[in-house]
Symmetry: D2
Subunit: 86 residues, 4 copies
């Protein structure tokens, strides 16, 4: 994902969150609000996965090419933590 596309997605998500605020203000039906929140959470998850993919192909790849074992260990530990495991 290019930086530009990531930024435009986040811009859209920001607008969607504002939209949810309006739905709450207008006392729209709860289930519709929940459905919209779920859509935004899914959109955020997608951005997250793209940033992670970028991270692996740049920072982790950099650590591999550096041949620096300590940097590699650190990158793995970070990845595992951010992926919510271990």
């Amino acid at each position: 994902m290019t930086k530009t596309s990531c930024l435009s997605r986040l811009k859209r998500i920001e607008g969607q969150v504002r939209g949810i605020g309006r739905m709450v203000e207008d006392e729209r039906y709860c289930i519709d609000i929940v459905t919209q929140i779920q859509a935004v959470r899914a959109a955020l998850k997608k951005v997250e996965e793209e940033v992670l993919k970028d991270h692996v192909s740049h920072c982790v790849e950099h650590a591999i090419q550096s041949g620096d074992a300590d940097e590699q260990r650190e990158k793995i530990a970070e990845l595992m933590q951010v992926l919510g495991r271990l």
Copy 2:
């Protein structure tokens, strides 16, 4: 959750999404961006659960009190769908 507290939470989340955009723009470290996205997703999930709790204590409760079996079936079907099951 009162409407006011829900709106103020969404306002904060909107600001956090904007903050993530700035992190991307400033090319901050990927893992920090991912961590921040995860925080916003968790915050949104919390709002979602509060709206759902409200839904159950108002709309679902209303369907129960109405004694209208069809309305009750509809509420259950909606709940199951929004909870991502069945």
Copy 3:
């Protein structure tokens, strides 16, 4: 899901768990073991969803037909809890 199909699925899952034990004993490659565990977790989730679907179409439907508001409230509370929400 009929009781018979549910039982035969559980039988298969039991065999799969035994198979994972053998993989561990044979010191098979970790990633293969993890993949197999994930398959079993997915199979269990499917049985779980089927039992839940049954529950809604029988027990919850029974509560609706009974017209007993307290029983309906109890069923909703149980559902929300088992769905891990609220």
Copy 4:
């Protein structure tokens, strides 16, 4: 997790799956069956995380020490896939 403890956990899980089969056979209350399935899924997830932790401290660590960039890339790709991301 030692191999022995992993095996004894899997043995227990196998017994729990068999127990769920008996609950289905005895037509026990759906919610109790679902709760039990969720407990087994959680137990399996724990074994999975332990196997993964072992994997990182052995196989991934081995790839780091080998200094072999291709092996390191392969290990990362495997990890990301099994963690359900990318």
